[in-house]
C-alpha cells in the first residue's frame, strides 16, 4: 500500500487547525491549566512533607509525576473523549465520506492531542524549573530523557485511548472510564512513591503505562540520588522502554482493527439515531 502523502499532509494541517481552535475555548484552556493547578494544590497540601527516607520535598517530587500522569491522561482520556464526541457529531462519518479521509482524521487527531499534551506539559515544566526548588533539569541528558519518555508515552497511550473511545457510543457513558483511570492514578505512584505500597498493588501499578511515564519523568527531572526511593532503587530506563514500547506495539496492532470495526458501522442513520437519543435525554 502506498502512503497517501496528501492525506498525511492534510492531517497535519488538520491537527494544527484543531489545536489552534482549542485555544479559543474556555473549557480547553482550563484543561491545559489543570495539571499545573493540580501540582500547585498538591504541593500546598504536602508542604513540609518529605519523600520518605530523604530530605527532598514530596511536593517537588510530585511535579514530574504529574507531568507523566498528564501525558497518560492526554493519550487515554483526551483522545477517547474526542473520538466519542466526534463520532456522535458526524466528524468521523465525514472523514469516511472523503477519499483517504480516515488517514487524515487519525493523523490530525494524533497531532492535535500531542500538541495539547505538550502545551499542558510546558505550562508545568517551564514555571516549575524556575519556581520549584530541587528540580534538576540540567544537561542534554535529562532533556533527552524527557523527550523520549514523552514521545514513547504518547505512543503507548494514544492507541489505547482510541480503543477505549471506540467502545463507547455516546459521550454520556464516558464517565464510566473516569473511575478506573482515577483508580489507576492512585496505584501509579503519582502522588506517593509506589515502593511504599503493598507488593500486590505495586504489581498492578507496574502493568500500566502511567507508572512508567511518572518514573521516566522523575528520572529526567529529579536529582539522581532520588532513584533510591523507587522500586528496585533505580530509574529502570530499560524496563520503562520495554513496558511503554510493549504497550505502543500492542496498541498499534489492536487499535486499527478496533477503529476500522467501529468506523465501518458509522452511517448517516446511526449518527442520526444517536442524535435523537441525545435529544431525548436532554429533554427529559
Amino acid at each position: 500500500m502506498t502512503v497517501p502523502v496528501v492525506a498525511v499532509r492534510a492531517g497535519l494541517t488538520r491537527g494544527r487547525i484543531e489545536f489552534r481552535n482549542t485555544l479559543t475555548s474556555f473549557q480547553d484552556i482550563w484543561s491545559y491549566l489543570f495539571p499545573a493547578v493540580g501540582v500547585l494544590v498538591a504541593m500546598f497540601f504536602t508542604s513540609g512533607a518529605h519523600v520518605p527516607g530523604t530530605t527532598f520535598s514530596l511536593g517537588s517530587s510530585m511535579l514530574p509525576s504529574v507531568l507523566g500522569m498528564n501525558i497518560a491522561f492526554a493519550g487515554l482520556m483526551n483522545l477517547s473523549q474526542q473520538l466519542v464526541v466526534e463520532r456522535e457529531d458526524g466528524t468521523l462519518l465525514r472523514a469516511k465520506a472523503i477519499p483517504d479521509g480516515m488517514i487524515g482524521y487519525l493523523v490530525g487527531k494524533v497531532t492535535q492531542v500531542s500538541a495539547m499534551a505538550l502545551l499542558a506539559s510546558g505550562l508545568v515544566v517551564v514555571p516549575g524549573v524556575f519556581l520549584v526548588h530541587g528540580l534538576a533539569l540540567t544537561g542534554v541528558g535529562s532533556w533527552l530523557t524527557l523527550v523520549w519518555v514523552v514521545v514513547l508515552g504518547l505512543l503507548a497511550t494514544m492507541p489505547l485511548g482510541a480503543v477505549i473511545g471506540s467502545m463507547f457510543s455516546t459521550p454520556r457513558n464516558m464517565g464510566l472510564v473516569m473511575l478506573p483511570i482515577m483508580a489507576l492514578t492512585a496505584t501509579s505512584g503519582i502522588f506517593y512513591p509506589l515502593s511504599q505500597f503493598p507488593a500486590w498493588l505495586q504489581w498492578v501499578g507496574q502493568v500500566f503505562p502511567m507508572y512508567w511515564l511518572g518514573l521516566g519523568m522523575r528520572s529526567a527531572l529529579l536529582p539522581g540520588a532520588l532513584s533510591a526511593v523507587e522500586i528496585g532503587g533505580s530509574w529502570r530506563h530499560l524496563a520503562t522502554l520495554g513496558v511503554l514500547g510493549g504497550w505502543a506495539v500492542a496498541g498499534m496492532v489492536v487499535a486499527p482493527v478496533v477503529l476500522r470495526r467501529m468506523a465501518r458501522r458509522e452511517s448517516g442513520s446511526s449518527v442520526a439515531a444517536r442524535r435523537e437519543r441525545a435529544m431525548r435525554q436532554v429533554v427529559r
Binding site: 497517501p4 496528501v6 492525506a7 499532509r9 492534510a10 494541517t13 488538520r14 487547525i17 484543531e18 481552535n21 479559543t24 475555548s25 466526534e86 457529531d89 458526524g90 466528524t91 462519518l93 465525514r94 469516511k96 465520506a97 472523503i98 477519499p99 483517504d100 479521509g101 487524515g104 458509522e266 452511517s267 448517516g268 442513520s269 449518527v271 442520526a272 442524535r275
Partner: protein, 324 residues
Amino acid sequence: MTVMSEPRVPARAVGTDDAVLDIRDLRMRYGATDVLAGVTFAARRGEVIALLGPNGAGKTTTIEILEGFRMRSAGDVSVLGADPARGGEQWRARLGVVLQSWRDHGRWRVRELLAHLGSYYAPYATERIPRPWDVDELVDAVGLSAHAAKRTGQLSGGQRRRLDVAIGIVGRPELLFLDEPTAGFDPEARREFHDLVHRLSDLDETTILLTTHDLDEAEKLADRILVLAGGRIVADGSADQLSRLMSTEAEVRWSRDGQRFVHSTADATGYVRELFRQYGEAVADLEVRRASLEDTYMALVHEFEAGRHDAAVHAFEAQRRGDA
C-alpha cells in the same frame, strides 16, 4: 426543464457503459423484516433522480448501501462501475455525499473547512475533471460568501445546509447523493439551490440521486422520479408520466356572473369547448389542472398501503409502455 419534454428511454434499456448506477434486485433484511424487497433501477450520466417514499420505506437504507456505508443482504449493485461494498478511495473520490444533518466541525471557519476537505481530492484530479473545486468559487456558488469567515457552529440552519452541500460537491463528484437537501431552506435559498443542481447536472454532467419530501421540488429538479414503498420501487418515470398514470381526470375551474364552479372530467378539452359554446363571453377565470405530482404520489402510496401494490405497478408499466 427542457429535458422533461424529450422522449425518455426506459431505465432498463440503458447501456451498461453509460450507467452510473445499476441496481438489480437489491434486498436488505434486518432480522425477520425485509426493509428492501428487491429494488431495481438504473441511472445514466447527468440524470437527476428523485427518490420519494413514506417514512420507513427504505430510502435512507438504499442510499446508504449505494454510498458504501451499509452492507446489503443480496442483489447486484454497481455504482460508478464498482461494488460499493468494495469501493476503494479512488472510487470514493468520485462520489459526493450530503447526509440529512451534520453538526461536525463546529469550531472551523467555513472557508477553512472547505479548503481543508477539498485538499484530499487533489490527487484524484483527472484530465477531464479538475479536483477540488476552487474554494472561493464554491463558497460563492452556494451563496455563503458573506459568511466565509464565520465559524460553522454560528451558521443558521439553512446556511449550515448550504455548507453541507458545498462539502458534498467540493471534490467535483460524478455522482452526488443528496438526502433531504433543502430541509430548512427559505424560498430564496431553495430557488438558488435548484439553480445549483441544474448547473451541476447540465454543465458538469453530475448524476444526482436525491431524496425529498417536497414533491414540488422533486418535480422541478428530477428527470425521473422513483417511488419507494414497502421496500420496492412502485413507480419509475418522469413527473408527467406519473401524473398521467394515476389520474386521467383533470379539474376545470371557472367563474360565471361572479359565481365559482369546479368540475372533474376525463375530457377537459371537450368540456371547455362545450362550456364556451354554451356561455361564451360569460366564462371567466378559467383554469384546467391536471392531477399534481402530489395527488399522484398520494394515490400511489395509498394504493400500495391498501394492499393493491401489484395492481399499481402493473397499471404503471402498461401506461409507460403506451408512452414509449
